[in-house]
C-alpha cells in the first residue's frame, strides 16, 4: 500500500471518529518511517474535512468535540516521535471570560475548536479582570484576543479593555473577537472590537481568516 493510500485511511478514520483504527494506522505510518510532523499534516487535513461537514450541516458542534478527542489520541501515539521543534501553530490567541462573569461553556467550546484548528490557545479562564487581560496581551503578543461575556452587566468590559489596550499602545497589534449570547453586532461595533462571533464555529472561521 502506498503512503497516500494509508494517509487517506488516516483521514477517513479521523473523519469517522474511529479512534482505534486511527491509532493503528498512525502507528503503521510511523513504522513505515513517515515523519510524525507529516502525519500531523494528514490529521489536519482530516480536521478540515470535519470542518467542511460542519459547514454543510452534516456535523454539529458535538462532532467537532469528538473529532478533537479522536485527534488527541492520535497525537498521543505521535508524541514520542515528534522532534523538539514541535508543530508550527497557525497563530496565537489569548482568551478570557471578562470580569464579573464565570460562564464558560461557550468559551470552552471555542477554545477547544481553536486548538484543533491549529491555534496556540492561552486560556486565562473566567472572571478575568481587564488589567490581567491587557497584561497577557503584553506578555504573549497574541495575534488575536478573544473575549466572552454572557451577562449584559459585563459587556461594558469590552470597550474598557479596548480603551486600556489603546492606552498601552497594544490595540493595533491584536485583533479582537467577542462572543456571548447577549452580545449584538451593534454593541460590538460600539465597543470598538474587530468582530462579533454569533457561534464558536463562526469565531474560529473569523480567526482563520485573520491569521
Amino acid at each position: 500500500m502506498a503512503n497516500e493510500e494509508l494517509f487517506a485511511e488516516i483521514r477517513a478514520a479521523l473523519v469517522e471518529f474511529d479512534v482505534d483504527l486511527l491509532k493503528v494506522k498512525t502507528q503503521e505510518a510511523l513504522d513505515r518511517g513517515v515523519d510524525a510532523e507529516e502525519i500531523i499534516g494528514v490529521l489536519s487535513e482530516g480536521m478540515d474535512v470535519v470542518g467542511e461537514r460542519y459547514q454543510t450541516g452534516e456535523y454539529f458542534v458535538t462532532s467537532l468535540i469528538i473529532a478533537g478527542e479522536t485527534m488527541k489520541e492520535a497525537l498521543e501515539v505521535l508524541e514520542p516521535h515528534l522532534s523538539g521543534h514541535g508543530v508550527a501553530k497557525r497563530g496565537k490567541i489569548v482568551m478570557a471570560t471578562v470580569a464579573g462573569d464565570i460562564h464558560d461553556i461557550g468559551k470552552n467550546i471555542f477554545t477547544t475548536l481553536m486548538g484543533t484548528a491549529g491555534f496556540e490557545v492561552i486560556d486565562l479562564g473566567v472572571d478575568v479582570p481587564a488589567e490581567v487581560i491587557v497584561a497577557a496581551v503584553r506578555e504573549h503578543s497574541p495575534d488575536i484576543l478573544g473575549l466572552s461575556a454572557l451577562l449584559t452587566t459585563n459587556l461594558e468590559q469590552f470597550p474598557l479593555i479596548v480603551e486600556m489596550l489603546e492606552k498601552e499602545g497594544l490595540r493595533s497589534k491584536v485583533k479582537i473577537v467577542v462572543g456571548g449570547a447577549t452580545v449584538t453586532d451593534e454593541f460590538a461595533k460600539r465597543a470598538g472590537v474587530d468582530a462579533h462571533a454569533k457561534s464558536a464555529v463562526e469565531g474560529v472561521n473569523i480567526c482563520k481568516a485573520w491569521v
Binding site: 469528538i66 464565570i102 460562564h103 449570547a181 447577549t182 449584538t184 451593534e186 454593541f187
Partner: protein, 380 residues
C-alpha cells in the same frame, strides 16, 4: 389574572394577555450592590412587583438561587439513610460574596461525589466549577443516591404561598432538566458528557434511564396536588444538544413522561433559552404544551415567524430579548418587537423577558411594556 393564565394552559381564546416578567435577579444584584433605583429603596421584591403593576412568575419557585420571591418548590427531596450530604462554604458566613464557593460532598457506602460551585453576580447566582460526575464510577454512586432519594409534597409551604398569591397565579412547579441536559448543564458538563456518550454509549443511555426514573418519581409526587404547570429547566441550545441528540435522547424522554403529566391534569413546559433554529422543527414531537424563554434575534438565532412556525400551537412564555430591556437598545426597537410578538403569539402567549430583567436593565421599561399590554387588552 388566575383565569387568564389558566386560559393559556387550556387553549381558551379571548382572555387578556398577562405580562409576567422575572425581576428577582435584577432586584437581588442591585440590592446587594447598593444600586437599586431610589424609588425602590426600602421595598421588598413583591412590593416592587406591585409598584410596577405586574405579577411575579414563580411565587412557588424552588427556594434556591434563580427562583422568584421566597419560593416554594412544592417538593422536598429526602436522601437515603446511608447517604450523607456535606456542604462547605469557603467564606460568607454573613451574607454572600463574589469569591464564595459552595462545596457539596455526597458520602455513601459505594463511594463519594464532590461538586464545587461558585457564587457570582454579587452572590445571587451559582455556577459549576467542578461538576458532580466525572467518570463511570461516579455514575454508580449517583445511581445509588437516586435509588434511595424520595420526594415529599410540602403542604405547609404551599398553604403559605396560596394565601399570598394563590388567587392571582396558578401553581407552577419545577422539575429537573431532561436527562441529557441535566448531565450537560447540571452535573457532568458539556464536553465530558459528549465524550462519555461517544466512548460509553450504552452506559450513558442506561444512566439517562435512571435520571428519567427520577422524573417519574417527581411527577408522581405531584399527583393529586394543586399544580397547574410543571416546568423542565432544560436550558436547551442546539450546539449543546444538536438534532441527532435531541431525536435520540430528548424527544423519546418527553414522549414517555408527558402522558403522565397530562394524565394528572397538568401541562408542562421547558426552558429553551439558547440557539434553537435546528431544534424548533422538532419540538412538536415532544408533546410539551409550551416553551419558556425562546429568545428571538438579535439575542437568539430565530425570528418570531420561525418561532411560531416551529412551535405551532404550543404556548410561549416570555419572548422579549433581555438586551431590549438594556438602555443601549432604543425604546422604539423594544416597542415594535413587543407589538409584533403579541400579534404573532396571542392567545398562546404569556409575555415575559427571555429570560429575565438583566441587572443593568432599565426597570422603567417594565412599566412601558405593561402599558402596551393594557392597550392591547383594551382592544380585545
Amino acid at each position: 389574572m388566575y383565569e387568564d393564565l389558566m386560559a393559556v394552559y387550556e387553549k381558551k381564546e379571548g382572555s387578556p394577555l398577562v405580562f409576567q416578567p422575572r425581576l428577582r435577579h435584577w432586584y437581588d444584584v442591585n440590592y446587594n450592590a447598593g444600586t437599586l433605583p431610589e424609588r425602590y429603596h426600602g421595598m421588598y421584591l413583591d412590593e416592587v412587583y406591585q409598584d410596577l403593576g405586574v405579577p411575579p412568575r414563580e411565587v412557588w419557585g424552588p427556594r434556591r438561587i434563580g427562583s422568584e420571591l421566597s419560593g416554594y418548590f412544592a417538593l422536598n427531596a429526602v436522601e437515603g439513610d446511608d447517604v450523607e450530604v456535606w456542604t462547605r462554604r469557603l467564606s460568607g458566613y454573613m451574607g454572600m460574596s463574589e469569591d464564595d464557593y459552595l462545596v457539596t460532598e455526597y458520602r455513601t457506602p459505594v463511594g463519594s461525589l464532590r461538586q464545587v460551585q461558585r457564587y457570582t453576580e454579587h452572590g445571587t447566582s451559582l455556577m459549576n466549577v467542578e461538576y458532580l460526575l466525572k467518570d463511570l464510577d461516579d455514575l454508580k454512586v449517583f445511581e445509588h443516591i437516586l435509588g434511595e432519594r424520595s420526594y415529599r409534597w410540602d403542604q405547609n409551604r404551599y398553604e403559605w404561598g396560596k394565601k399570598r398569591y394563590g388567587d392571582a397565579i396558578p401553581l407552577r412547579a419545577n422539575l429537573e432538566r431532561s436527562p441529557l441536559m441535566w448531565l450537560i448543564v447540571g452535573i457532568m458538563g458539556f464536553k465530558k458528557t459528549v465524550t462519555m456518550i461517544w466512548r460509553h454509549p450504552q452506559e450513558m443511555k442506561e444512566f439517562m434511564g435512571i435520571l428519567e426514573a427520577e422524573h417519574v418519581k417527581q411527577i408522581t409526587a405531584y399527583r393529586g396536588k394543586p399544580v397547574a404547570e410543571l416546568n423542565f429547566g432544560d436550558n436547551m441550545h442546539h450546539d449543546l444538544c444538536p438534532p441527532p441528540y435531541f431525536k435520540e435522547y430528548v424527544t423519546p424522554f418527553y414522549q414517555r413522561v408527558m402522558p403522565r403529566v397530562h394524565a394528572q391534569g397538568m401541562v408542562a413546559s421547558s426552558h429553551f433559552d439558547g440557539y434553537l433554529k435546528q431544534l424548533l422543527p422538532l419540538v412538536g414531537e415532544t408533546s410539551l404544551d409550551g416553551l419558556e424563554c425562546v429568545t428571538p434575534a438579535p439575542q437568539g438565532d430565530v425570528t418570531l415567524g420561525e418561532m411560531k412556525e416551529g412551535m405551532g400551537d404550543m404556548f410561549l412564555r416570555d419572548g422579549i430579548p433581555a438586551v431590549y430591556m438594556c438602555p443601549w437598545t432604543p425604546v422604539e426597537t423594544l416597542e415594535s418587537h413587543v407589538r409584533e410578538l403579541m400579534e404573532t403569539f396571542y392567545p398562546r402567549l404569556i409575555l415575559g423577558i427571555s429570560d429575565l430583567l438583566p441587572a443593568n436593565g432599565d426597570v422603567e421599561r417594565i412599566r412601558l411594556v405593561k402599558e402596551m399590554v393594557e392597550e392591547f387588552n383594551a382592544e380585545l
